[in-house]
């Protein structure tokens, strides 16, 4: 890896700063409390699909392992359990094993906000409000008052969401109907008939491969940001299940085929949370990922009872990149490491 200085990106960087400033301003007026958090932690939440950075604290002959936080979730949920109310973190998060690319950096700025007594659809409304507010602050308004941006060569209007369920998206873009999507055997058969290599792959592996290959490129391409919602329960993470018992209250949003954020109605039943965390932890050790202690305070907070709430995580560089109409996040930065 090397360090490069890119002063030619000054204008883009200034736009990035404006986006950050606008997010703070919007959330403040909506009553969210800004939370400053540590990025080094002695324990984490087990997440099977993320690798972490490990370092150590040294004092004389003593040593203690510390880990860079891959998301602020563990700290924010502790605070939510203690009744902090609507809150957010906007700052650095770290993910190991993701080589730098046009959309990825192993350290990145994440916005995570939680709203209490709310579900994922309430967050969708709040988020659309934020996207419009950024348009106003960046002067992306047409003569008729419509808040729009150009991304690539396409116009995106923030007047509404294009909403599509995961099942509808698989049907429309990958010709996989909902019976096939929700039945593991049928899903594998269908995937194989489409030419995917299903050997030694889990449902989530194949799901994710088809999703990236056949669905993502079409999302956020029809003049509006796309909100894709109700993921199969195997992709539930810590999201609450719907009453159909096969989908979870989770959505992601896209502009120009690029994923910008991931939202859940938070699961609040302790037993179910425990099961999913244990499964994640087991999966981590099977994949030989870096061992880290599980944050017991987080577990206790969940046991004590997480209030009904919903939250979303957004990649801030990616979001600013879209408003700046750039194809890579590195063009927003004055110093790049890749």
């Amino acid at each position: 890896m090397k360090i490069t200085t890119n002063v030619e990106n000054l204008n883009n960087y200034q736009l990035y700063l404006k986006v950050e400033e606008t997010i703070h301003e919007f959330l403040k007026t909506r009553g969210y409390l800004k939370i400053e958090l540590p990025v080094l932690s002695p324990a984490l939440i087990p997440e099977s699909y993320l690798e972490v950075f490990k370092t150590e604290f040294r004092y004389l002959n003593e040593k203690e392992n510390l880990f860079l936080t891959p998301s602020p979730e563990l700290f924010l949920k502790r605070l939510l359990a203690y009744g902090i109310g609507d809150c957010y973190y906007l700052g650095k998060s770290f993910r190991n094993s993701d080589p730098p690319s046009s959309l990825h950096s192993f350290e990145f700025t994440m916005l995570e906000f939680y709203k209490v007594k709310a579900n994922y659809l309430d967050i969708a409304d709040e988020l659309l409000g934020l996207l419009n507010y950024i348009c106003i602050k960046l002067n992306r308004i047409t003569d008729t008052g419509e808040k729009t941006i150009i991304y690539g060569n396409k116009k995106i209007s923030f007047t509404q969401w294009e909403k599509i369920s995961v099942a509808e998206a698989f049907d429309r873009y990958a010709q996989i109907n909902s019976n096939e999507l929700f039945d593991e055997d049928l899903f594998f058969k269908k995937a194989e008939s489409k030419g995917y290599n299903i050997k030694q792959s889990s449902y989530t592996d194949i799901f994710s491969q088809i999703y990236v290959q056949e669905i993502e490129p079409s999302l956020g391409q029809n003049g509006y940001p796309t909100l894709i919602y109700n993921y199969p329960k195997k992709m539930a993470a810590l999201a609450k299940l719907n009453s159909d018992n096969q989908t979870a209250q989770r959505f992601e949003f896209y502009i120009g085929g690029i994923e910008l954020g991931d939202c859940y109605t938070e699961l609040t039943q302790w037993k179910e949370q425990q099961n999913r965390l244990m499964a994640e932890s087991k999966e981590r050790s099977q994949q030989k990922k870096i061992k880290h202690p599980i944050d017991k305070g987080f577990i206790q907070a969940l046991q004590y009872g997480l209030t009904d709430c919903a939250g979303i995580a957004i990649g801030v560089e990616r979001l600013a990149m879209i408003y700046a109409n750039l194809d890579t996040i590195s063009k927003l930065k004055l110093i790049n490491i890749d």
């Binding site: 993320l50 046009s102 990825h104 992709m235 994923e259």
Partner: protein
């Protein structure tokens, strides 16, 4: 040789669905919903067609060994580029669509590396930089000292690139043929 898709690199040749492809772009992608993927753009070496494909990063991919031979670039027509192997004076034909945008920076008579598979040209290795003469560009306005300011310049192959204001007609500059970016002014 079998490799994991996670190790795919730009420029490599692979066998996929019984055809040979060259990797144009390979980005590691962790969607957070399953194991990591390698998003690749691959170009079919027979048709020149580009395809985007998301491989599972642990998926086995067969890489293909190809020959790389230095040849003299003779000329091009509407469909092909023509090269000559100076070792045996044999002429080789390479489909224009397999070469892509770098073709506008190639100069007749110069030497380039051509990739052969089964003795058929399937691609060429873009040189890191090419030296080309500026044939057309406006004179810089005196006093215009804004640093980083650039102007258009037409090169001897017909390609148009952005160059710094101090570059004059008749001078030779280096250009990265893959990005079209100006490198430096050179004396020849």
């Amino acid at each position: 040789m079998m490799i994991n898709a996670g190790n795919l690199k730009k420029g490599e040749f692979i066998r996929y669905q019984n055809e040979i492809w060259q990797v144009q772009k390979a980005d590691f992608y962790s969607p957070g919903k399953g194991s990591a993927l390698m998003k690749a753009r691959i170009k079919n070496v027979l048709s020149g067609k580009n395809v985007e494909y998301a491989f599972k990063s642990g998926e086995g991919i067969e890489t293909v060994e190809v020959q790389s031979i230095e040849m003299q670039y003779l000329y091009k027509d509407a469909e092909n580029l023509y090269f000559m192997n100076e070792q045996n004076y044999e002429q080789y034909t390479l489909l224009l669509s397999l070469v892509g945008d770098i073709v506008k920076f190639l100069k007749d008579g110069d030497k380039y590396y051509v990739y052969l598979y089964d003795d058929k040209p399937i691609s060429m290795r873009p040189p890191a930089s090419v030296k080309l003469k500026v044939v057309e560009t406006e004179d810089a306005v005196k006093g215009d000292t804004v640093s980083g300011a650039k102007k258009q310049a037409k090169l001897e192959t017909g390609a148009v690139v952005m160059v710094p204001l101090f570059v004059k007609v008749g001078e030779t500059v280096t250009v990265n043929p893959e990005t079209g970016e100006y490198g430096e002014r050179v004396k020849i």
